[in-house]
Amino acid sequence: MSERIVTVVPEAGLHARPAAKFVETVNEHEADVRVAPADGDDDLVAAGSMIAITSLGVESGDGVRIVAEGEDAHEALDALETVLTTPEDELTNA
């Protein structure tokens, strides 16, 4: 199991296009990925579910904890870190 804490860069937070890109990226990898706000004791939720991501209410500048397990765990974390640290206007459509 690997995990990482990443600070969210896009201005809108983990919402709209960055959130969609995040969910797509999760589902492109052979890994079980879960996510939670970095501060607080909220349970991890399924990172491949749009409603679960929306439920987190993560704003720009917030930290998120991403936990990945499986064959592509490391690649998944790298790709997700890229999504979360790319300003929205530089994010290309998948």
Binding site: H15, S49, M50, I51, A52, T54, S55, L56, G57
Partner: protein, 158 residues
């Protein structure tokens, strides 16, 4: 991190007259207009065109079909002066182009004034959190009156 909304907020955001149990149009854009008109009719929208434009622009960016049969079209717009929510449900299901390919059957609209960025995320995340529970979704489908819907929402966000 977004704050959570509570039972009292539900009363303010979504009075029963903003809840419709009539079958909405089966096409996504028409359904969005149907929900918007519920808010227009009760006087919560000052500028229908501006609100509609903001809602459709948001859909253009990426669908608000968030999976599990739930659609949450939403926008920040000065077409409203206070945060407002409307609800409808569809027996037949509406294609929102959701990532999980499920047709949408429970639809919430959220409109907040342009300056209400925090409210926007608070409402969206609280509703999403509530709707992740199967029991809440089942209760919304089973509701017989707008008051039942409102009661379910109060219990779900508490």
């Amino acid at each position: 991190m977004a704050a959570t909304i509570d039972r009292d907020d539900i009363e303010t955001l979504i009075p029963t007259e903003q809840i419709s149990l009539a079958e909405p149009p089966s096409e996504k854009e028409a359904c969005i207009e149907f929900l918007l008109d519920q808010l227009v009719e009760v006087g919560r929208v000052d500028d229908r065109d501006a609100a509609l434009e903001a809602l459709l622009a948001r859909e253009e960016e990426t669908t608000t079909g968030v999976g599990m049969g739930i659609g949450i079209p939403h926008a920040k717009t000065d077409g409203v002066t206070r945060p407002s929510v409307a609800f409808t449900r569809s027996e037949s299901g509406i294609d929102f182009g959701a990532m999980d390919d499920e047709p949408v059957t429970l639809i919430f609209m959220i409109l907040v004034p342009e300056e209400g960025a925090d409210d926007h995320l608070d409402i969206l995340s609280s509703l999403s959190r509530a709707l992740m529970h199967e029991e809440v979704r089942d209760d919304l489908h089973a509701a017989e009156t707008p008051a039942d819907v409102q009661q379910t929402l109060k219990g779900a966000v508490a």
